[in-house]
Symmetry: C2
Subunit: 458 residues, 2 copies
C-alpha cells in the first residue's frame, strides 16, 4: 500500500469554491479548514494511515451537521466522519481527498438522570467525561483512549475494552440515538427507554457501522453504579491453558467480576526493560491473569481461586492503578521493538487457548524475525496480537493471522473494526451473502454513497 | 376491525396447484396443511386475531425453509413466519390468505458449551428447553409463555420478561444467528463470538423485526449462571410513588437484583376473588413490589430496604413460586371481568409514577365503565395496561393510552411489538424519517416484499 506523504497530500486540489463558501456560510470560516490546517485530521494516531482532505469541517450542532451533509450529498462529495481520531484501523481518516466531518464540537453533556441512570451526550463528549459525570455512577465502557475517544466514534466502532464482560460493548450502553443521514435527514429517538419494541433497532446497527450508515450526533447512554472498593489481583500462571481455565472458573465463582485480562512474560519483559515498571510478582511467571471484582465476597472468592499461585492484590485506588498498568501499558510494548502492527481477533471460548498459544508461531512462520506480543481479554475470547515485524509489512502477517483465526471460527476484528487495515480480509469472517446484505443495508441508509466510501467495501 | 369468522376463512381459495405440489415435494404432504387443518395456526391465543391461510407449511430444517421461501418468492406468495404462536399483538397469524411458515419442527438443541456458556438452538426450541438445558446454567429471558414461546418467535419479537433488568431482552442473548432471506439466501454467523466487529450487526436488527426481514432458523445463545438460592420478597406499599422510589433504591442497594416487578390492589383483589390465591400479606396494601435477588448480602439488603414495611419473603423453590404467582397470574386478571385488551407501554424512568398512577383515569375518561389493571416491570419503565372494557373496542382505548404515553416520551410497545394491534399508532412512537428508514431497510432485506406484509407498515 503506497500512501501519499504529508507534503503530497497538502498539494492536492481543494473543494469547489462555491461549495466552500456554502460550508463557510453554515459553520463559519474558522471551522472550514483547508491545506495545512487539515494536518491533524488526515493522519491516524498510529501514523500508519495518512491521507489528504479537501477540507475539514467542524459543525457545532446537529443542525449544522444536517446542512453540511445536505451540501455534500448534493455535490457528491465523499465524507469521512471523525471523532477523537483514536481508531486503530484507519477507519476515521481520509484517504484521497474526502471531506472530514469532525464532530468534536458537539460536546454538550446533559444532566445525569440519577433515577434512570442515563445521560444524553453529544458526539464529541469523551468517554472520560461520561465516567466523571456523576460521583455515584460510571460509564460502562472503559478503554485506554478514554480521554480522547468520543461518544460518536466509539458508537461508530462499537468500542469494547476491559469491562465488556460485565457491561457489554458500546452497543449495550445505547438507550437512544440521534443521527443524520447523508441527505441531511435526522433520525432521533432519545427518550431513553430501556424497553422499546417499536420497529427496527437501528441504533444497534449504527454501533459498529464505522461511519458508513449515518453520522451519530447525540446518544442517550446508560450509566452503571460506580464500583465500591473494587479489588484487583494479578496472578502468575505456568501457561495459557492454566490461565484460561482459571479465568473461566473466575467467571462462575467470583461475585461481581468486572474484568478478566491477560498478558504474558514476553510483553511484560519488554515493558520491564523499557519503562519504569517493576515486576508484579516475586518470581516471573509465563502468563499473568488480572482480575477485578467488586461485590461482597469477591476477596474470599479470589483467595480461594488463587490457591497457592503467586498473586499480587491491590485494594486502594493507587494500588489498583499500579496493577492495571501492567495490562494497560501492553499496547506500547511492541513499539519499543519496531513500528508495530496491531491486530485484534477473537475466537470461540473453546479455541482461545489454541489461538493464544499458537498465534506467535503462525506469525514467525511467515516472518521468522518477528516478535509477537499477545494480551487482552480472556473471558470474551479476544486476543490482541501486536507484532514487531522484521520483514516488510506487505500483508503476509495479516494473511497468516487472519486465516488462522478464521480456521478457528473466529473474527478478524474483535473490537477495532474493519476500517482500511482489514478490508481485504473481510471475506474471511463474512460470507458473500452477508456482504451482499451489508451493501444493501448501506444503500438503504446512504443511497448517495458518500459516507466513508473506502470503508467496509463488498 | 372486521375479521372473517373461522368458517369464512376456511372457504377461501387455496394455493395454485402447481405451487402446492412443489411445496409437497420439499416438505412432504403431511407438512403442507390446508383447509381445516390450518385451524390451529390462523388464530392467536388471545382469540382477537383470526385470519385464514392458503396453507401452513412445516419445514424440518434450514434447507427446507430456503426451498419454501424461494418458491413463495418466485410465486409472489406472502408468508407469515410463525413460532409458538404466543404473540400478543397479532404479528404471527395470517390475515388474508398468506402462507404460514411454521418453524416448530426446527427444534434441534445442540450441546451446551459450558466454557462459553452458550448453546445453538433451532428456531422451534422453546425457552423452557433452553432454561433446562444444563443444571448449572439458565436462559437469561424468562417469560410466562416460556413452555410454548420459541427461539425464533422470541427473537423476532425481542421478548423481554422479568429478568431484563439483569440480563437484557432476547437481543442481548444473541451470540449468532442463522436466518433465511425471502429469496432463500442463508445468512449464517453462528460461531458464538462475544466480540465481533466485522460489519453490521444484523442479528440485533432481526431481534424485534417481527418476521419482516428474514426468517430466523437457528441462534447461538448465551446462557447465564443459574441463580443460587435466590430470595423473593413481596413488599406492601401505600402507593405507586413509594413503590417506584423503593425499586430505584433496590437497583442501587440490593446485590444481585434480578427482578423488580409490581402489581396493585386492583388486580390482586380480582385474582383473590377468582382463583385459589390467598392474600400475600396480613393486611392489604395499595401497591406491591416483588423483588428477586441472589447474591451474598441480598437478604440483609432486602431487610434494610423493607424497614417497617409489611413483607413476605420466600426462600425455597416452592415458596418462591408461591410469591411469583401473584405477579405471574396478573395477565389473567382482566379476563375474569371481560375479554381483555392488553396494552404494553414504557416511559422514561422519571415519568413512570405519572404513567402508573394516571393511566387508569386516561382509560375511564373514554370508557367510564372500564376496569384497568396495571402490573409489570418497575425498573425498566414498563407497565402492562390490561383493560376490561365496558364500551366497544373500536380504537378509543388505544388512542387514549398511546397518546398519553407518547406525551410522556414513551413507547407504545415496550416488549410485545407492533404487530397488527398497534400498527395504526406507530407514528406516535416513531417519526416519519424513522418509518422511512424502516421501509428502506425492509426493502433491502426483502425486495420482493413477501415477509409478513401486513406488519410494521409505514
Amino acid at each position: 500500500m503506497v500512501l501519499p506523504s504529508a507534503e503530497e497530500s497538502l498539494s492536492r486540489p481543494s473543494l469547489p469554491a462555491g461549495l466552500r463558501q456554502d460550508l463557510v456560510d453554515v459553520v463559519g470560516a474558522e471551522h472550514v479548514l483547508t491545506d495545512s490546517r487539515t494536518a491533524g485530521y488526515v493522519v491516524d494516531w498510529t501514523g500508519r494511515y495518512r491521507g489528504f482532505a479537501s477540507a475539514v469541517v467542524r459543525p457545532r450542532d446537529t443542525a449544522e451537521v444536517c446542512a453540511v451533509l445536505a451540501l455534500c450529498s448534493a455535490a457528491a462529495i465523499p465524507v469521512v466522519p471523525q471523532g477523537g481520531n483514536t481508531g486503530l484501523v484507519g477507519g476515521g481518516v481520509p484517504r484521497a481527498g474526502e471531506l472530514v466531518l469532525s464532530l468534536g464540537r458537539l460536546d454538550s453533556l446533559g444532566p445525569v438522570d440519577r433515577a434512570a441512570m442515563q445521560v444524553t451526550a453529544g458526539a464529541g463528549v469523551t468517554l472520560a467525561q461520561l465516567a466523571d459525570a456523576h460521583p455515584d455512577l460510571d460509564f460502562g465502557v472503559a478503554i485506554t483512549s478514554r480521554h480522547s475517544a468520543t461518544v460518536g466514534g466509539t458508537i461508530a466502532t462499537n468500542a469494547g475494552g476491559v469491562r465488556v464482560l460485565r457491561n457489554g460493548p458500546m452497543r449495550a450502553q445505547i438507550r437512544g440515538v440521534e443521527a443524520v443521514l447523508s441527505d441531511g435527514t435526522v433520525l432521533s429517538h432519545l427518550s431513553g427507554l430501556t424497553k422499546d419494541n417499536t420497529g427496527y433497532d437501528y441504533p444497534s446497527l449504527l454501533a459498529g457501522s464505522e461511519g458508513t450508515l449515518a453520522v451519530v450526533t447525540k446518544a442517550r447512554l446508560r450509566l452503571v453504579p460506580r464500583l465500591r472498593d473494587p479489588i484487583v489481583a494479578v496472578l502468575g500462571l505456568p501457561g495459557l491453558a492454566e490461565l484460561h481455565g482459571l479465568a473461566i472458573r473466575a467467571l462462575q465463582e467470583v461475585p461481581g467480576l468486572v474484568s478478566a485480562e491477560f498478558f504474558t512474560r514476553t510483553g511484560l519483559d519488554i515493558l520491564l526493560r523499557n519503562t519504569d515498571l517493576t515486576p508484579p510478582l516475586d518470581a516471573p511467571a509465563e502468563a499473568y491473569l488480572l482480575l477485578e471484582a467488586s461485590d461482597a465476597g469477591a476477596l474470599e472468592a479470589l483467595a480461594e481461586l488463587a490457591g497457592n499461585l503467586p498473586v499480587a492484590v491491590g485494594h486502594g485506588a493507587a494500588d489498583r492503578a499500579r496493577l492495571w498498568a501492567y495490562r494497560e501499558r501492553h499496547p506500547e510494548a511492541a513499539g519499543f521493538l519496531a513500528p508495530p502492527l496491531k491486530l485484534d481477533v477473537s475466537v470461540p471460548a473453546g479455541r482461545w487457548v489454541e489461538l493464544a498459544t499458537s498465534v506467535g508461531d503462525v506469525v514467525t512462520a511467515v516472518d521468522p524475525g518477528a516478535r509477537v506480543i499477545t494480551f487482552g481479554h480472556v473471558a470474551d475470547g479476544n486476543v490482541h496480537v501486536n507484532i514487531a515485524p522484521a520483514a516488510e509489512v506487505d500483508g503476509r502477517h495479516q494473511d497468516a493471522v487472519f486465516s488462522y483465526v478464521a480456521s478457528l471460527g473466529g473474527s478478524i476484528s474483535a473490537e477495532h473494526g474493519i476500517g482500511a487495515l482489514k478490508a481485504d480480509w473481510l471475506p474471511l469472517s463474512r460470507t458473500a451473502a452477508e456482504r451482499e446484505i451489508f451493501a444493501r443495508v448501506r444503500a438503504a441508509f446512504d443511497p448517495a454513497g458518500i459516507l466513508n466510501p473506502g470503508i467496509l467495501p463488498r
